[in-house]
């Protein structure tokens, strides 16, 4: 009785009684987390180091004078301007197409959706050269030729060539091996990335916003324009900048579909290729640095104004 001073319900008494009949519990010691973090950090930093090393090597190889000298060349100035212009145009067209596709794919379920989803990913997984070759073949078919013809007619009708001549650009005669082919080649790949980003963007915007807007008297287009689109702005910025960056780096499809004609279809990656092929490594690296700076600006813009989560 002396070991149960607090009555029959005293739990302390029960525990002490149990401890005499069962073996004592072995205290388990959890090992250190140090190896886990060490391995993960070493692996992570090794890749980070590779990226930084690449940039440092480029920067060490070139100088502001080299970049300035590169800009003295009117061919490089042209390719820079063409790259900036074509990337802006192709990313704008990509957005124009990616917003409706992303919205429809995000909001509606229909037969064959998985198939369409797969088709939309083809430009991402296909080798770039194959895309260029496919574009070239497409514009040799009857359909492609009629497209080419129609485009030329439209260009003549709206007087685009006289406008281009005013800014010192050669007139356009069709699509293949002409300026529009550069934009089309860039768009073909960049749009796929923009579509993916826009789909994720719309997935992240609750359908309930549209539901509420519909009950407030909106038509579908009004709900989209006034409620969904403002919510999607960070995603649109991300999709646009991503498409722009992809377009800037596009080389294979442009080389095949547009050629590498100086002062005509030469973009910055083509310049790097042409300068390397004639052995002018300094100019090639200087042009590369221009693209690195442009890519950094785009990345910065996305980080500040775009989606907080990764979409690709």
């Amino acid at each position: 009785m002396t070991d149960n001073l607090n009555g029959p319900n005293d739990v302390r008494t029960d525990y002490s009684a149990r401890s005499t009949s069962t073996p004592p519990i072995q205290r388990r010691k959890v090992g250190s987390d140090f190896p886990f973090f060490t391995i993960f950090l070493v692996l992570s930093f090794s890749y980070l180091l590779l990226i930084i090393s690449l940039l440092v090597a480029d920067a060490a190889f070139t100088s502001l004078q080299d970049i300035g000298r590169a800009f003295e060349s009117k061919e490089i100035r042209y390719s820079f301007m063409l790259s900036m212009g074509s990337c802006t145009l192709s990313s704008a067209i990509s957005l124009l197409i990616a917003i409706p596709i992303g919205y429809l794919m995000s909001r509606f379920n229909f037969t064959g959706k998985n198939l369409i989803d797969g088709i939309l990913d083809i430009p991402i997984v296909l080798p770039p050269l194959v895309i260029g070759l496919s574009l070239l073949i497409l514009f040799q078919t009857g359909f492609g030729r009629s497209l080419d013809k129609t485009f030329s007619l439209i260009v003549d009708k709206i007087g685009l060539n006289s406008l281009l001549q005013m800014i010192g650009v050669k007139p356009i005669r069709g699509i293949t091996y002409e300026l529009p082919s550069v934009i089309l080649a860039q768009f073909s790949v960049a749009c796929a990335f923009a579509v993916r980003t826009m789909r994720v963007t719309f997935d992240q915007i609750s359908e309930r916003f549209e539901s509420v807007a519909l009950t407030l008297g909106c038509r579908r287009d009004q709900a989209f324009r006034y409620v969904v689109l403002p919510e999607a702005i960070p995603g649109i910025i991300t999709a646009g900048t991503l498409a722009w960056a992809r377009s800037l780096g596009e080389f294979g499809p442009i080389l095949v579909f547009s050629g590498a004609t100086r002062m005509k279809t030469e973009v910055l990656p083509t310049t790097v290729f042409l300068e390397l092929s004639i052995g002018d490594v300094e100019a090639a690296v200087a042009v590369s640095m221009i693209m690195v700076v442009a890519a950094f600006l785009v990345l910065g813009l996305t980080r500040v104004f775009g989606l907080r989560t990764n979409t690709i």
Binding site: S206, V212, T215, L216, Q222
Partner: protein, 232 residues
């Protein structure tokens, strides 16, 4: 008046068949049911956000069973408000009015009325991110009432609020309903909320709507609908 007649809704494996109830003109109806019982589906069907298989939905005696949401003239307060993140409170109150092309003077007048009614005058320039749970629901209520809808439909509007704010919001909902005279249907699983607000109380049990109405005040020792409900 809200009339739901032999309504059948099907979504995947889930279905509700032949449910019906009526909320008379100018009264406050509460539809109760456990989570997953289908009460939100019924409310969404009345809103026009969910297709129906059969049956009829009549609002102010007009058959709106297959009408678009926008044509039903309903005020909808969803769970947790669902405020538009990029809009200020003022823009929320003006949104439905701009869609209906009210002139600026009328819009301003209506915003002032709603701000006073709901006590949100000091919040007009804020965006949803800077509002508390109770404030969000007030704004959602104001947005739903802005265009003077025929009926007000509320989907668990107080579920994420603490007890004190819930109590305040219950008083506000009752006051607003009496002030505006809007026929209302409020979906909830909270018994005390239902007891406080309902003129007519419906309960969704195993796919059937059971009506406890009209509700009378509980006298000492008397078994009323409310008493029975609270015991359950």
């Amino acid at each position: 008046m809200i009339e739901v007649v032999n309504l059948t809704i099907q979504q995947g494996d889930f279905s509700i068949t032949n449910v019906g109830f009526t909320v008379p003109e100018g009264t406050y109806g509460v539809l109760m049911g456990s989570t997953g019982s289908g009460k939100t589906s019924i409310l969404e069907a009345i809103c026009g956000l969910r297709p129906i298989v059969s049956g009829r939905i009549l609002l102010t005696s007009v058959d709106v069973s297959h009408a678009k949401s926008a044509d039903r003239n309903i005020g909808y307060v969803p769970q947790e408000g669902v405020l538009f993140q990029k809009m200020t409170v003022r823009q929320h109150l003006a949104f439905a009015l701009k869609i209906r092309k009210w002139d600026n003077h009328q819009i301003q007048q209506r915003i002032d009325e709603l701000a006073e009614l709901l006590g949100i005058g000091h919040l007009l320039h804020r965006r949803p991110k800077r509002l508390s749970g109770g404030e969000r629901q007030r704004v959602a209520l104001g947005r739903a009432l802005s265009f003077k809808p025929d009926v007000l439909l509320l989907d668990e509007p107080l579920c994420s609020l603490d007890d004190e704010v819930r109590h305040q919001m219950c008083n506000l909902l009752k006051y607003v309903q009496q002030d505006q005279g809007t026929t209302s249907l409020h979906v909830t699983h909270n018994t005390s909320e239902a007891v406080r607000l309902a003129d007519y109380l419906f309960r969704l049990v195993e796919g059937k709507v059971v009506e406890f109405s009209p509700l009378t005040e509980s006298h000492e020792g008397e078994e009323t609908s409310f008493n029975r409900l609270e015991k359950e």
